[in-house]
């Protein structure tokens, strides 16, 4: 079975630009979550989507948005990029949302560098 796939793996953008990151969950998983990992820190929660609906949002500005498609893949969009948005963006896939026994599988991430 394919794991969680993210694209692109690396990206360099200029301040003020827009970026779209993509994630395909494990087959059969209906939930996708996005995390931002800044160098030297643990991942920070951005969004969770389940059955195409937003189920949770972290403490990130409105420049960050996401959506989930009927095939359960997801996109994370970031507008008006700032230097501080440079980070590893991780996608996590799970069958459900926060129930007992639900584990999360992470993708390899997209390394975004804003210059």
């Amino acid at each position: 079975d394919a794991g969680v796939t993210q694209s692109p793996t690396h990206l360099i953008k200029t301040r003020g630009q827009h970026v779209t990151l993509r994630c395909s969950p494990i087959s059969g998983h209906k939930s996708v979550s996005w995390y931002q990992q800044v160098l030297g820190q643990g991942p920070q929660f951005i969004f969770q989507y389940y059955e195409k609906e937003e189920r949770g949002r972290g403490n990130f500005p409105d420049r960050f948005s996401a959506r989930q498609f009927p095939n359960y893949s997801s996109e994370l969009n970031v507008n008006a990029l700032l230097l501080g948005d440079s980070a590893l963006y991780l996608c996590a896939s799970s069958y459900g949302t926060g129930g007992i026994g639900y584990g999360y599988t992470f993708g390899s991430g997209t390394r975004l560098t804003v210059v």
Binding site: Y35, P43, L90, I100, G103
Partner: protein, 113 residues
Amino acid sequence: AQSVSQHNHHVILSEAASLELGCNYSYGGTVNLFWYVQYPGQHLQLLLKYFSGDPLVKGIKGFEAEFIKSKFSFNLRKPSVQWSDTAEYFCAVNGVGGDKIIFGKGTRLHILP
């Protein structure tokens, strides 16, 4: 506020030494607990998880962790580390019914050959 605290930011050990990484969490409810490992240049991988039942859980590569509910702790242990255990280790908590995993800041483990 929900949070996870990892006691050590950077640990250096020699091969065959015993390892214990501390983790405490703050969460008002039933939790799922995780330890993830991130090897250099690789993605986050699940080492072990606790959902319910026996508070001593065994994971991959000889790691184990003990959930002590009264202390809100979930410490990671390994009796004898190897050079290949060099990595960053993250403790994480997810509230049952919640929407997110909360991660600690990580412990960077360096094993000397």
